[in-house]
Every structure is written in structure tokens, then in C-alpha cells.
Symmetry: C2
Subunit: 328 residues, 2 copies
């Protein structure tokens, strides 16, 4: 049986999730793909921190050490922010290494370039974990694209915002209190700006746009509004009128071929499919020519959901690779 | 570029949907798979009926003619009921032909045998369309199984029953009136027994059980209740108490390895993920070890949704085949 060597760069919650799943499900992965998957190297911020890792794994804070580890086939990237992630992944592709990323900010901007580069170097890029965590939205859209046409995608793609809006409604608290609650429960970062300002949802929307429509709208033409200006009174008023605020990202391809996107809070009626999505869940509605609408709902973040999305990418890459070897 | 020859057996709504999609999306399919897909033969009930089919297609009411059409690679089966569908598909597999079926009654009973037979003959079986029409539940469960573990699947998998329950609630009508309404709108068969008695949902549940758990519970130990005994008053009472009746199929693997299934109407509270699923939509909740819960909602039936599920199976089979050629 063949084997595959992987490295994980960025060993926070998501990176560690990948490590755990690959190890816990070693036998299952072998059965499914034919490959034994071995994590050979890990890029960390602090090499002195004690970690529960197998002793034969290269643990380093220098990306060159990862690139110099012999025979790395694939890199899982779970770093936050554009750089150095983009540079690292470009170098990996250039070396003929497949990449799997969870980094939405980087991928919204550099995804199209990375995909082109990867095509040229004949390697694959997995990015299921960049949008809606454990919800297999990228794979589902890809599958639909094969024999259908996507018209519109809309959804709740930021779990932090949705938790805060839910908390404000259910507990009757202010935005500030709900944000503190989210932080206390691990649902918001120390700096939650990207989440509550709509930036995070915007990045995810741009990734979906590139995938579904082959293009993104001009970024500055997309209205992006967060939830940070919503008052406790607004929520009470909405609830009394039987509406709910949801933070929705929405992208559609118009009849003339142009693409329109927007991100912001909207008031929804009880029979809207996003009305009932509470807490940190994500929900995405895909409208297509043949299907009508398909809705996917699930955990938008977390160690295991996001990690398992990245492992699912690995399986898909192994299959894609095999398909191409046959056809070429 | 290689090409693939397909036959469609059973040319009702679903079979015709496959024909249309394969033709409308020929270029897209070629780009995605590398294969040109050609429908070479169609098995119909009445050969004298005028159909809008390309003149070089074999149109026959004898399955031997299908088997004798040279170089058929794949058969789409959209017949209703166990026989002759099972016999036809067994013969096709024996001849080394891949099969894609939408026939839940047949597949619930004979699926495990067909899958074994196919494995032995080195061909593939697609059955996405047997459960929840255009909702890609089979593919999603398969993908999850690779690196996760399924604990429970529950959902609304019979669109006819859900339409009737919705109609009774919204219009305040009796079961009988709602059933007539469903028939008038094309959401119920002339003989709706399987739908309203829970039989159809039961078949789908057994297919999901085989896939998710590798086994089915003993059929006679599964409680199957339909919606045909629900009175207009029951619905009013439930609505007044802020509950809703939904017809739910539910299967789980217990700690001791046993499998428990049940099918029947249940009363749901407003925050239950199935509470808001109205009309002919299907919705399935998959509970796993890593993800928590993933919910898929979409059209449970219809020419294009079901047809596109079968075409998606074709793409998947082409990819699977390529993967195996590499690994063996």
C-alpha cells in the first residue's frame, strides 16, 4: 500500500484537530483511500511549548524545515491571516506539494492565484474548511456545478455573529454583553473585529463566488455591514413583530452575467429557512437551475468539525489525483 | 477523449429527467469527467408512444435489447417496484455494466446483494436518488464515513406525507382532502399507499442504515406508522400548543452495536430543526462523532432534482473507477 506524508502548518485548534483525526482514523483512511497517512512535520509558533506529539515528528518554527522534510506530499495550513500563509503555500505549490487550507482571509484574496499556480504545477488545493467549518459546502457546490448551474448562494457563515444575535434575543442583553459571553464560551476571538464587522463573512462569500461563478464582484462594490451597531431595542422590536435578525452573506449571478454580493443583518420572517438557525451554527442555501434550493446546516467552527473538513479534502485530493492519472 | 455509453431503463418522470440533463449538460460533463456521455438505448413500457428522442437511440420494451446494445457502460434504472428491476440490474452487473438506481423499494431489500455482486464483478452502483431525491444525502454520508463515525440519522424523507401534514395545518383540511390536493398537484401517486403508510420512508431508512452502519435492523422490529390515521383535530390541537406533526424516519446505532429504527409521526417543538420543513421538501439530520449534527434540506422528488442526483452518481462512478485503476 502506498503512503502519504503530510505537514501541518499552524498548530492551533484547527491544526491540532487535523493531527488528532488523522491519527484516530488511520485505519479508516487507509481502507478508504489505499494510503497510509503520516504526519511528518508540524510548524508551530513556540517550539518550547510541551505538546503531545509522536517523537519522530519534526516540530519547528521555521517553514524551511517543513519544505526540507523529505517527501512531503501535502500541507495542511491553519494559520490566521494573509501572510506569511500565502508565501508559504506558494512555495509549497512550487515544490509540487498539495495544499489544504482553512485560511479564509488569505484564500478570499489569493485563492484564484493559488488555484492557477496549483493547476500549472499539477497539484491540488483543498479549501473546504475556509467556509462554514464542518459543513461540506465547497464539495457540495463543486458536485452541483458538474451537472447543474448555481444561481445564488446565501447564508449564515459567521458563527460568532449568529451566537451574539441569538444571545441578545434569548437573554435580552446588549451587543457588548453578548460579545463578552461569546468570548467566555470560546465562540469569539480576543480580537473579534473581523467577525462582528462582517469581514469574515465577506471573505467566505468571495470564496464561494469564485467557486460558484468563476469570479468575484469588485470588492469595494460589495456592501459589508456587521452586527456591532445593532441595539438591544432593535432585537426586542423585531422579536415583538415576530421577525429575527440574522447576519446573512448573499451572492448571486444576474441575468447579464454580473455578480452582486452583500453582507449584513437582515430581518427574517418565521418561514424563512434561516429564521431558526440559532447559536454558532452556520447555514447555507444554494439555489440552482435543477434543484431549486438546497440548504446545509451544521457547525461553523470548532476543532473537530473544521479538522474533519480538512481531512475530507485530503480524501478528495487522493481521488482527484487518481482520476487525472487515468485521463492524461 | 474517451466516451461512455448509457442506457435508461424506465422512462417516466425520472428517466426522462436523466435524458434531458445528460443532453443539456453534455459539454459541462465532458469538461468535468473527460468523458462524452451518450444515451444509446431506452427501455419503455409502450414503444408506440411518441417521444422526443434522438433517432439513433434504441427504444425498446425488451430488456434483452438493452443488454444486446453494444458497449453499454452504464444503466440508469428508474423503474418502480422490486421486479423486474432487481433481475434486470443483476443481469447488467453480471455483464460488467455499472448501475445507477432511483428505485428505493428494490434497493432497500436487494441493495446489499447488488453491492456485493457489483464488487465481485468490479462495477459500481450509484443510489443517491433512492433517498431524498435531489438532496445529496448518500454522497454526504459516504464522505463523512471516511474520517468520521455516524451515530444517528433522522429526517423527513417522504415529501408526499410532509405535503399532506403541511396542507392539513395550513388549510385546516382533513387527511382525505389534503391527499386529494397532493394528487391534484402531482405530489402523490394514483396509489399513495406506500407514501402515506410510512412504507416509502421505511425503505429509505433501510438504505441509509446499510450505508451508515453496514447493516439493517430486522425489518419486523422496526415500527412503521404512517400519517393516514391523523385527524384534522389532532393537527389543530398540536398547532394550538405550538407543536407540529412531522413524519420522521429515525435510525441509530446503539452503544452495544445494535441498530434501532422507527418511522412515524412525531410532535416537534418550534426549535427542532425539522419543525420548519414545509411542503414537499425533505430534510435529513446526520449526527456524527466529530461534526455534531449536519442537516441537509432540499427537494425530495421531481424530474430535475432526482435526475440530477443520478447524473451526479455517474460523475462519482467515473472518479471511483479512475481511483481504483491507480491503486490496483
Amino acid at each position: 500500500m502506498p503512503s502519504m506524508k503530510a505537514a501541518i502548518i499552524g498548530f492551533g485548534t484547527v491544526g491540532e484537530g487535523v493531527y488528532k483525526i488523522v491519527n484516530e482514523k488511520k485505519e479508516q483512511l487507509k481502507k478508504q483511500t489505499g494510503y497510509t497517512i503520516e504526519i511528518a512535520a508540524v510548524l508551530v509558533k513556540d517550539v518550547t511549548k510541551k505538546r503531545d506529539l509522536s517523537p519522530d515528528i519534526v516540530v519547528t518554527d521555521a517553514f524551511e524545515d517543513i519544505l526540507n522534510t523529505p517527501d512531503i506530499d501535502i500541507i495542511f495550513e491553519a494559520i490566521v491571516g494573509e501572510e506569511p500563509a500565502y508565501t508559504y503555500l506558494s512555495q509549497a505549490i512550487e515544490k509540487g506539494i498539495h495544499i489544504i487550507t482553512a485560511n479564509k482571509k488569505m484564500f478570499a484574496k489569493h485563492g484564484p492565484a493559488l488555484l492557477k499556480h496549483a493547476e500549472f504545477r499539477n497539484v491540488h488545493v483543498g479549501y473546504e474548511a475556509t467556509v462554514a467549518g464542518g459543513v461540506p459546502i465547497i464539495r457540495t457546490v463543486e458536485n452541483l456545478l458538474a451537472g447543474d448551474r448555481i444561481k445564488r448562494i446565501q447564508g449564515i457563515v459567521n458563527g460568532t455573529s449568529n451566537f451574539i444575535l441569538t444571545d441578545m434575543r434569548k437573554e435580552g442583553v446588549s451587543f457588548k454583553t453578548a460579545l463578552q459571553d461569546a468570548k467566555a464560551r470560546g465562540f469569539a476571538e480576543a480580537d473579534p473585529t473581523d467577525d462582528v464587522s462582517g469581514g469574515d463573512a465577506f471573505y467566505k462569500l468571495m470564496i464561494l463566488s469564485s467557486l460558484a461563478f468563476g469570479n468575484q464582484p469588485e470588492w469595494k462594490k460589495v456592501s459589508v455591514v456587521g452586527i456591532d451597531h445593532i441595539q438591544a431595542d432593535d432585537i426586542v422590536e423585531a422579536t415583538n413583530a415576530d421577525f429575527r435578525y440574522r447576519h446573512v452573506a448573499d451572492i448571486r449571478k444576474n441575468e447579464d452575467g454580473s455578480i452582486t454580493g452583500k453582507v449584513g443583518p437582515v430581518l427574517l420572517e418565521p418561514d424563512h429557512p434561516l429564521y431558526n438557525i440559532d447559536g454558532v451554527d452556520n447555514a447555507v442555501i444554494i439555489e440552482t437551475e435543477y434543484l431549486g434550493a438546497l440548504t446545509l446546516i451544521g457547525p461553523g467552527a470548532g476543532m473537530y468539525p473544521t479538522g474533519s473538513a480538512m481531512v475530507a479534502d485530503l480524501l478528495h485530493i487522493i481521488r482527484q489525483q487518481a482520476t487525472e492519472l487515468i485521463l492524461n
